[in-house]
Amino acid sequence: MEVLLWDGTLSSHDFHVAARAFTENWKQFNPTLPPWIWVPSRLSEQGYLSLEKICIVGSSKEHEQKDVDEEEPEPVDNATLVETSSPQVCYYDFHILYSDSYRVPVLYFRAYCIDGQPLAWDEIEKVLPACSAKVLLESKWTFITQEEHPHLNRPWYKLHPCGTSEWMKLLFLGDESLAKKGVAFEQYLVSWLSVVGQVVGLRIPFEMLNHHKSCN
């Protein structure tokens, strides 16, 4: 399909193809990061891409010595290591789902502390790199909402896909090497994530983008 005639969307089948290409590509260029995994849906033929437990380690924090009524469930045991501080760790989970109504990929994500307590959006915002905050503030398409994850039926944060097809078309049009060869759906997710990832501090290595250009 010619880029000029294209509306920026992709079909569910194209999404699947793009997802496979993307996971392979990711593995090749991000050997140090966990892989994206295709999670097949138990409800339909569709599935989603999942990248989980991206660990953000903050500075170590001393345990506060608060006066609280401690219980004494067991005697002191000197073979138990007692740590006086613990690192501030939080995890990010990212899922890329296909939206049938918008016909584009949608990023779902969540963040939680190491003990499982979910982080609210305002807490996530604090942890995000400064550039993400800027993107969120300035661009119209970065609309974050909490919605039920269609596969897990639990609320996750979601980057609303209203504007996706429009800026995807612009992205493909603006890139000569992409525009010339027609719409290559294998490149869709890399290009898409290179934009969307900025919002949540998820970076795509340049090599990954360039690789796509050179082999297409």
Binding site: P34, C55, N78, A79, D115, G116, K140, C162
Partner: protein, 713 residues
């Protein structure tokens, strides 16, 4: 071997817990739908994997799959599958109590001991050698506060205590202990073990290094086979969740107990297996040697050794608490979803949409029938949160089909009061709505009041007065003309935004009333109630704005409201209309309100009509702001009209309003009991007389005053 660490006690880094939101979601659902008040313990499964991060230990994780299936979502989730290398199963038990008191009252020592006993028995009877996962049991006590969506919980990872404790001879990264050759062979063996679905989730094992420096991983139960061969080097290995460079993780404790109890070794070489990105990392993995002195009385089945293992919460012996209200409270979720829709609208099409104005606006709906139900729904859709419904009727069997807030249940046993049923229904639709129902009749002119009921009618008048006073916008949605009279007057008096919707059989009228006669002029643009009331004191008997004030529902009438239901046939009384009419009119009424709220002149905004050239506000994002919309389903047509206020209006002219201010309830009572009083007062009687003298035909003129302009769309 270096002996410099001599006799130091071997200290183990405790297991740590991590509970995925999904676990609490499923536990809540099970508690509500399946367990009820049954608080007997439940077998659950925890998951862990070797440490794979140089700074962060791996946690024992509970997921939704850790719990048995909830019958309501049966077969939709696969059961726990074995062989997942990142999810080694750990058997656990959950004591979920019904109250926070019983949670605190649980015998923690006793529960821990009971689990330790299971481990001890499995060691003694050999089960722990067949299925090594049972060496790392865990215990979870919890109280699920389902009303607040908070969960109190406490984990224990029972570890059998060696007394005296094991001492450490040495502990080093595996890469420093093994030659390159052994390390390579060992890494390859580990990677095989970890990639075979048969062994990937077997957390305890034996590392065998033969005389050719070739390493293999064997099952723990094979120890007896290999220990006899003198040229083999044996290490006891386990998946170590801990990341620390100087301490082995918790699972080693029960492994040592097993080794000590079954094989009575004095010196144990062990390997803490850790990985990076899915591959064995011998730099992180530790190899150490511990010395054990078998405690007194070990080996006798009946005396379980002491156990420890309650998890600390930030170094303290207190339970943990997690709140999931943000993700589980349906009210909060509904609110954020509703906000989202409106925010999206603001973002895409209506940047000037003022959601705060809408959510703080107090709307009074007089009538909770076809129109009232639908208006309430539309208001909520626009983000209005504060809705009061006034109606004195009960839900009848014929109502639910047309009155969209009611169901058959509301009709049973004589029927619920509509005001109450509507409020319940609104809360079901959107729990965050602040809806109130008032069961009350609206006093009407032409329905004379017997003297014994006078007091209660006057009470109703005052009540209505107070209701209107305390709201920002009033909808007149009753089914008779005369019931709109008193509210029209009261609204004109206090200058409230007032919207009327009225239905015929196949035609409707939706209009906004103009500002009251005593309101400040258009220029001040003041909608502030306090400012208005001061101006009210300087009441002028004539309209300040002359004919420019927009009219109310009664401005075009030349008769005062009378009892319109008397002498009517049943179909006329029941306001039988085409079913599509009420939803259309209701929707227009609400859209009109939103238009007023977003118009810079608010209630004072001039009436606009389609294609009218004399206004600039058609550039408003919400489009034009008409005064009246009349529609006909018979013609499938709709018109916008403008009608200005009449000096002889029985509801909103300055004579009537000032009379009401002067005489209050006495005036109202007179108007109710003597319909001609209003006509006399406003000069309508005079007008009628002169009109009949000229033989004018009023038949088709009543709706279209001379000032009216109408354009068909």
């Amino acid at each position: 071997m270096e002996g410099n660490s001599g006799k130091s006690i071997l200290q183990f880094a405790p297991f740590q817990s991590s509970v995925d939101e999904g676990f609490w979601h499923r536990l809540s659902s099970l508690k509500l739908n399946k367990f009820g008040i049954d608080d007997s313990p439940i077998l659950i499964t925890g998951f862990y994997a070797p440490c794979s991060h140089s700074q962060v230990s791996n946690h024992l994780t509970l997921l939704a799959e850790s719990l048995p299936l909830d019958s309501s979502e049966e077969s939709s989730v696969p059961a726990v599958s074995r062989g997942n290398r990142n999810r080694c199963s750990v058997p656990g038990i959950l004591y979920n109590t019904n109250t926070v008191e019983s949670f605190h009252a649980l015998d923690k020592q006793g529960l821990l001991k009971a689990e330790a006993k299971k481990i001890w028995e499995d060691i003694q009877n050999g089960k722990a050698l067949e299925d090594t996962a049972v060496l790392s049991r865990f215990l979870l006590i919890s109280f699920a506060d389902l009303k607040k969506w908070s969960f109190h919980y406490w984990f224990a990872f029972p570890a059998l205590v060696l007394d005296p404790p094991a001492t450490l001879v040495n502990l080093k990264p595996a890469s420093q202990v093994f030659s390159v050759e052994v390390a390579e062979s060992l890494s390859a063996a580990f990677n095989d073990w970890r990639s075979s679905s048969l062994t990937a989730d077997v957390p305890f094992f034996l590392v065998v290094i033969d005389s050719n420096l070739h390493a293999t991983i064997k099952h723990l139960k094979d120890w007896e086979t290999y220990q006899s061969a003198a040229d083999h080097k044996l290490l006891f290995g386990f998946y170590d969740p801990c990341h620390l460079p100087n301490n082995p993780g918790w699972p080693l404790r029960n492994l040592l107990a097993l080794i000590c109890s079954r094989w009575d070794l004095k010196s144990v070489r062990f390997l803490c297996y850790r990985e990076t990105r899915g591959f064995a990392d011998l730099g992180l993995s530790l190899v150490g040697e511990a010395q054990i002195t078998a405690p007194q009385g070990w080996g006798t089945l009946h005396s379980t050794p002491n156990a420890v293992g309650w998890e600390l919460n930030k170094g303290r012996k207190v339970p943990r608490c997690i709140s999931l209200a943000k993700s589980m409270d349906p009210t909060r979720l509904a609110v954020s979803a509703a906000d989202l829709n409106l925010k999206l609208m603001r973002w895409r099409a209506l940047p000037s949409l003022n959601l705060n104005t809408l959510s703080s606006l107090k709307c009074l709906l007089l009538g909770a029938g076809t129109l009232g139900c639908q208006v309430a729904r539309m208001l909520m859709a626009w983000g209005v949160r504060k809705i009061t419904l006034v109606d004195n009727g009960r839900v009848a069997m014929s109502n639910p089909l047309r009155q969209s807030l009611y169901t058959l249940d509301d009709c049973l046993n004589g029927g619920e009061f509509k005001a109450a049923a509507a409020v319940n229904s609104l809360k079901k639709i959107f729990p965050a709505v602040e809806a109130e129902g008032v069961v009350m009749a609206i006093p009407m002119p032409g329905h004379p009041v017997p003297s014994q009921e006078e007091q209660s009618v006057l009470d109703d008048c005052r009540r209505l007065h107070d209701l209107i006073d305390s709201h920002d916008a009033v909808f007149l949605l009753t089914d008779t003309r005369e019931s709109r009279w008193l509210p029209s007057l009261l609204c004109a008096n206090t200058n409230k935004i007032t919207i009327t919707a009225a239905l015929g059989f196949d035609s409707f009228l939706v209009m906004r009333h103009g500002a009251g006669p005593c309101s400040s002029s258009h220029d001040s643009k003041s909608e502030d109630a306090n400012a208005l009331s001061t101006e009210m004191n300087n009441l002028a008997l004539t309209d300040r704005n002359g004919g420019h004030r927009l009219g109310c529902y009664f401005c075009n009438d030349v008769v005062a409201p009378i009892d319109s239901t008397a002498n009517r046939t049943l179909d006329q009384q029941c306001t039988v209309t085409r079913p599509g009419l009420a939803p259309i009119a209701s929707a227009l009424a609400v859209e009109l309100l939103v238009g007023i709220l977003h118009h810079p002149d608010g209630i004072f905004a001039e009436g606009e009509i389609v294609n009218s050239s004399n206004n600039g506000s058609s550039e408003q994002p919400l489009g034009i702001l008409p005064h009246q919309i009349r529609g006909s389903l018979g013609q499938f047509s709709q018109m916008t009209l403008v009608g200005h206020s009449s000096d002889s209006c029985t509801a909103c002219c300055s004579i009537v309003v000032s009379e009401y201010r002067k005489r209050g309830m006495e005036f109202i009572l007179q108007a109710i009991n003597h319909p001609t009083y209003l006509e006399d007062l406003t000069g309508l009687t005079e007008l009628m007389k002169s009109a009949s003298t000229f033989q004018m035909d009023w038949d088709d003129g009543t709706d279209d005053d001379d000032d009216d302009t109408c354009v068909e769309i």
